[in-house]
């Protein structure tokens, strides 16, 4: 057992309001610089949707993460030898089109335009060329189901969903979306580190933060391609790769990362996890449907005396052990089973976790005798006959957000992990409601 401490973040998606305050906090602090315009170390995606960079989950194309085949764990991007051969040609690398061409406006024209026949306006221009342009992409282009026939409808996580359910996601009966905030996952088994030909990327032993050494980086950009989450960016001005640093200058001074600090939805939790670094490869080498379980398996019980002793032996400070014991992340992930890593099938052992969201009940469109204004029928909420206040508890298939979709995001398709998580959240709500309305829990609810 080789105990390591890890600073992790948890995103309670049932609370996310999709405001992007986190993204801007991050941008202001770290990437408001030339060459970094398009970098969004923290971004927030609307789901279903295409994400940023567009379609990043399409690993057929981008070749991110690891492949587990025949008992071997290999980078999907290339083997070691291929890597050398492809140093100068890397087709899996996203291009500007996959990100966006940063734009601004000629604001100053409002001040300096001479008197003319018509009102002046500040026209949009490229921040790269300075030429006029019409924005056609951005870091949050499909926000709130914008362009849903193009983006949401082509979300790869819809794979495996009943075609009827897929169709309803774009109709009044079933339309739904949620938000997915993303930072670097500071993985236990980081593909970016493994792919770097110069060894410039490393994991800080004390807190697990994965960093690109700006002095050593030689701009090969293998990390950009290898990261399945597309969370390493290439700075075109400095010729170095950069990524989320988990605000280590803040962490080191006892402050939460800016994205977590600024999270006005109060969805983010920070906490320490202890894990067994020796068991990383084996955790990543199980079939897809067991990946979550195997990752949780190497996260250690911070109350276990053996773990504590082993941690101390590794030089882990008592404060960190205490933090691990008080860690909300540990509770969510291990004790309650409410939170999961994003896309465990990438096998990087992502160390940021997500609580899947609840969603409203679906409806049916009932053809009325006479058409209602502007609509062909009457909307009827599809409420089961039940006394329970949160009706979808008894029939999760009536929640707008399909369980299968959430499973594709968080459990490599394993619905049997998502269902109890959602049910637990609903059960707590039922319990709390009964307490405040009935003064206790009714027999039926029990």
């Amino acid at each position: 057992m080789k105990v390591r401490a890890h600073m992790s973040m948890l995103f309670h998606l049932d609370k996310c309001i999709g405001c992007h305050t986190c993204s801007i906090a991050c941008k202001n602090l770290w990437t408001d610089r030339k060459g970094a315009e398009y970098m969004w170390w923290n971004n927030v995606e609307t789901r279903p949707g295409a994400g940023y960079p567009t379609g990043w989950e399409d690993q057929e194309r981008f070749k991110g993460g690891w492949r587990y085949q025949d008992g071997h764990l290999d980078l999907r991007l290339h083997s070691r030898t291929q890597g050398l051969a492809r140093l100068f040609f890397n087709p899996a690398l996203p291009s500007l089109d996959d990100y966006y061409e940063p734009y601004t406006f000629r604001y100053n024209d409002l001040f300096i335009s001479p008197e003319g026949e018509d009102q002046p306006t500040a026209i949009p221009i490229s921040m790269i060329t300075g030429e006029p342009m019409t924005p056609g992409a951005g870091p949050n282009w499909d926000d709130d189901l914008g362009g849903s026939p193009l983006y949401a409808a082509n979300d790869p996580n819809l794979k495996g969903l009943d075609p009827e359910v897929q169709a309803q996601l774009s109709e009044i009966e079933g339309v739904v979306f949620q938000y997915l905030p993303r930072i670097c996952n500071h993985c236990l088994n980081p593909a970016c580190v493994a792919a770097c030909p110069t060894g410039a990327i490393y994991k800080r032993a004390e807190d697990g933060v994965v960093l690109v050494n700006e002095n050593k980086c030689k701009a090969w950009r293998m990390c950009v391609a290898a990261c399945p989450y597309k969370k390493v960016y290439y700075n075109w001005a400095t010729g170095k790769s950069e990524k989320c640093i988990l605000c280590f200058p803040r962490l080191e001074t006892g402050q939460a990362p800016a994205c977590a600090h600024s999270c006005v939805g109060r969805i983010r939790y920070m906490g320490v996890l202890l894990y067994d670094a020796d068991r990383i490869p084996e955790a990543a080498m199980v079939p897809d449907d067991r990946l979550v379980e195997s990752q949780l398996g190497i996260i250690l019980d911070p109350f276990d005396p053996e773990v504590i002793a082993a941690a101390k032996a590794e030089g882990i400070d008592e404060g960190w052990i205490k933090a691990a014991q008080n860690s909300p992340i540990y509770k969510f992930v291990k004790v309650w089973g409410l939170a999961f890593p994003l896309h465990p099938e990438y096998r990087t052992l992502a160390m940021m976790f997500y609580v899947p969201p609840l969603s409203p009940v679906v409806s049916t469109l009932e053809k009325a005798l006479r058409a209602s204004q502007g609509r062909e029928g009457l909307v009827r909420l599809d409420l089961p006959e039940t006394d329970l206040d949160f009706e979808v508890y008894e029939s999760l298939e009536k929640a707008r957000m399909p369980v299968k979709y959430l499973a594709n995001l968080f459990t490599a398709g394993n619905e049997s992990l998502i269902v109890p998580a959602l049910k637990k959240m609903l059960a707590v709500r039922i319990l709390k409601r009964q307490e405040s309305l009935e003064g206790g829990v009714t027999e039926k609810a029990q």
Partner: protein, 1196 residues
Amino acid sequence: MKDWIREIESPAERKWEEFYRNRFQHDKRVRTTHGVNCTGSCSWEVFVKDGVVTWELQATDYPSLEAGLPPYEPRGCQRGISFSWYLYSPIRVKYPYAKGALLDLWREAKKQHPDPVAAWEAIQSDPHKRKRYQKARGKGGFRRASWDEVLELIAAAVVSTVKRYGPDRVIGFSPIPAMSQISYAAGSRFLSLLGGVPLSFYDWYCDLPNASPEIWGEQTDVHESADWYNARFIAVMGSNLNMTRTPDTHFISEVRHAGAKLTVFSPDFSQVSKYADWWIPIHPGQDGAFWMAVNHVLLKEYYAEREVPYFLDYLKRYTDAPFLIEIRDGRPGRYLRANRLSEYAEEENGDFKLLLWDEEKGPRMPGGTIGFRWQKEKGKWNLKLEDPRTGEPLNPRLSLLGVEDEVLLVEFDDFASDQKLKRGVPVKYVVTKEGEKVAVATVFDLLMAQFGVGRGLPGDYPRDYGDELPYTPAWQEKWTGIHRDTLLKYARSWAENGLKTKGKNLIIIGAGINHWYHNNLMYRAGIVALMLTGSVGVNGGGLAHYVGQEKLANQASWGPIAFATDWGYPPRQQNTPSFHYVHSDQWRYERGFSAYDKTAAGLTDHTIDHQVRAVRKGWLPFFPQFNKSPLEVVKEAEARGAKTEAEIVQYVVEALKRGELRFAVEDPDAPENWPRVWFIWRGNAIGTSAKGHEYFLKHYLGTHTNTVAEEKAEGQVREVVYRKPAPEGKLDLVVDLNFRMDTSALYSDIVLPAATWYEKDDINTTDMHTFINPLQAAVPPAWESKPDWDIFKAIAKKVSELARVHLPTPVKDLVMIPLQHDTPDELAQAEDRDWKKGEVEPIPGKTMPKFRVVERDYTKLYEKMVTLGPGVEKVGVGMHGLTIPVEDFYKELAERQPRLFQGEKRPSLEEARQVAEAILFLDPVSNGELAYRAFLDEEKKTGVRLTDLAEGNRHVRISFKDLVAQPRRQLTTPTWSAIINQGRAYSPYTLNVERLIPWRTLTGRQHFYLDHPNYLAWGEHLPTYKPRPDVLMLQETKKSAFEAQGKLLNYITPHGKWSIHSTYSENHRMMTLSRGGYPVWLNDKDAAELGIKDNDWVELFNDNGVFVQRAIVSARIPRGTVFVYHATERTVGIPKSPLRGKRAGMNNSITRARLKPVLMSGGYGQFTYAFNYWGPVGVNRDTWVFVRKLERPPEW
């Protein structure tokens, strides 16, 4: 550990990490907030490095509320956190700018006329010169100018206008003072000392929910967001919390986890819908129909079929449900007045004491009605259910059913089907002192009938829920599109929750409802459901309206400073909807309200006719007042021998009666009646605040416009002169104070560089929480910018200087104001009579406006502006009819921050920070002794014990320094309506419910029924449903229908994600995270029919104007609508309109103001006027546009 997982501890190898540590380093953090109209009032820390603002992060040190409530922090959103971009951005106004065309004329005139006033008049008296610079407005051509030069020009225009036309031709617009109270007060104090006219904002923005004054006599009073956590059933309607209440939304997700049920009404799958348990995709603008049917179910199942003691008791104590209404000519009429009966014939204010039916004793007079509020004997104005004469308990009947003398068939209006329904109502007969037998019914029985709950009575009652008569679950289906089963389930869940939690039913409501033409009815329908479940005045229950009001917590002390009543009363205050409807000539483009509003009495006069009558009856203000300068009017009166104020007023009344003197509103297009000089600060008055923006450009500014509408009012109007052609270019000068070049700045003549929110001191409060937050200068104002307080000081100084030549001696100004809320004026008009028609004598303050003579010494304007005058010392501070003596504190303040005014030591207001200290020191929310005194006054009025609520806080004095150290919580005071001691969350009207302080209404209770004669005529005496105005009736697509192929869609403008109104909208962060523009959201199927693909350019057009942007196609948008998130600018990324050939407009280019005349009612109870409190509102939802695809990219 595998080798590919490179783990590094070595400090040497990690030295490079300093790169990021260095970037994070900063010199200081300064607490401040954003003076923006979002209601957030979030405490921020601004990080400063090398004297430059680098970024901001939220402060996280709010004091906690009571145990069990989640904390507030971190408050702040994506918009707030991007503010630092503005400071050094290329859109920052760094220097004073003036339009080149005007500057050239000015410099030339100055050469010929060294006197600045003479120079200004030389330009104004030459129509060609005037036209020359007016036509240049908005067309570029700005030039940098010096502060001295522009200040002289502005002062010259002001002084000239005062001399030539009168001070009431100088107007100013600035919205929502709470967000930066001192910056607002800068301009309003200057204008008020001048005799100029601050324009209201809350009603104009259509944020004022008229239902609130209608029902509660209250402008608006709502829950702080922490109180959402106490709710257990939440209905969100027309409010997209994630978008507009971003820092508060966490309470919603948290209370869901605490067991609350969340239901969201929204036509689109909105951002807040994602949280809902039930998303109810109701048709746009039909929420009222849904709630009407909910009320039907509540009344039937929880009142007719069973008795719920909590509900019944609540209705008897806290609502007008047991009060008696006279049935006249088969219709519900006025409340039965006490003095109608011989027993109460001698009662003081007997017209304003109303009766209910006691179980044993029949018609009885309870205390607490408005007559008791304003009578000589105090102490009977309370909600005790007892006979105020004897102290005996009263036991009012809600229903007369079972004890009725007769069941009468009473007439009710069904506006949806244009029919009258006759429904049986149980009545009793009372005999008046004249011996007349009058049928009376309780409000409750009338409600039962109105909502169609038959209880076995005869008449046009629905048979069952499936009967489509009003207001059954089946009836609502055709309006809402929601199945009756869903409605039934909803209504029962609502009732059960209310019953089990004793009223923890919460409606969170917003602009999505309030911006519809019939918003007052939609609100009332929902509020009825709250009252029927005993939910108002309960923590976690009631109506939480969040649109724009941003509660000015320290109103009591701020008011006298902001409107300069410390130096003289009254200030001029104008309701803006009326002002712009009239002066920007939008009234000329419509046939009046009767084209789209239905009235019970079949009224057909044009809206402007009602407007004129409302002014002359003293219901609404209007400026300019007369077709003459109010200074000249006094001179004339004095020339005819008037000596006292009373004689001057008498002269004016006579002159008005004879028609020698006319109200300006009767002939608004006559040049002598135009507004002339307009100050705009802290707002976007010509841009996104301008409903009917294109008419502003045409008639106010006299520049280019995209409207193609034809005038339609000619021949339809009775009370106004119709001049032809309509004037274009009424305004002589438009001055804008701004830190960014927004649309208003772009169209102004002069732009003054204002300090940003990180560069000045100010105070900020909100209704979303109960803390007071400071704004502080993190860095000095950059470039040549100045705080608003300093800019208006500079203008005042220059005006005073020019006045020494042009207005050297004091002048008398006759000020006209309407009958005022929270004064005995509320008893002015028991009947509605028009003196102009000879129905009654013109009596100021009774049947017509009030007139006061105010002496103004323009040479002392500056000195007065920076000195807190004797009015506060003598009169005290106050609001809601309370008077709070502050003489001792005034004196103390004069010692702390002294300034000599004519030899006397008075508190200085020279620096913004001194203004802040004055506000805090003299207000009951921040001075515990004053809270105590306020309760003392309220005790006297009500006769109930209240001071115990303030005892524990008498020592509290919150100063600016305290605020800088940490946000400080306000105190419990009767200037507001909630008890918030010991960390209890603010829930409105808990003070009324728990301490029996009456609401400031006719009955002192919450009103189901409104008996103003206008409401009876309009058929809005009872909660009712009126259909949405039909697109054809609105007549704003007549010409555009032939312009191009397009699809007609309902134009919806909700509050957006990437801006706070127009602020932040052009901010680079926001532009990047959105679509880099102001997108047009379309349903995917509608878009497909129009051949529009995502990101295609589209054009929206109607007769009012045109809008061109790129489309977002989305399945979450309902068919038949087009969304443009509200408050766009036309400064950034706006191409030319292919249809109209000129630069396309902004979101208000396609709207036009439409006023609802019933909301002009006044002079009676809660219908008396107060600024931003009452009056018609600037609705904008009922707008239709054609949408078409552009074949090729537009030109710039």
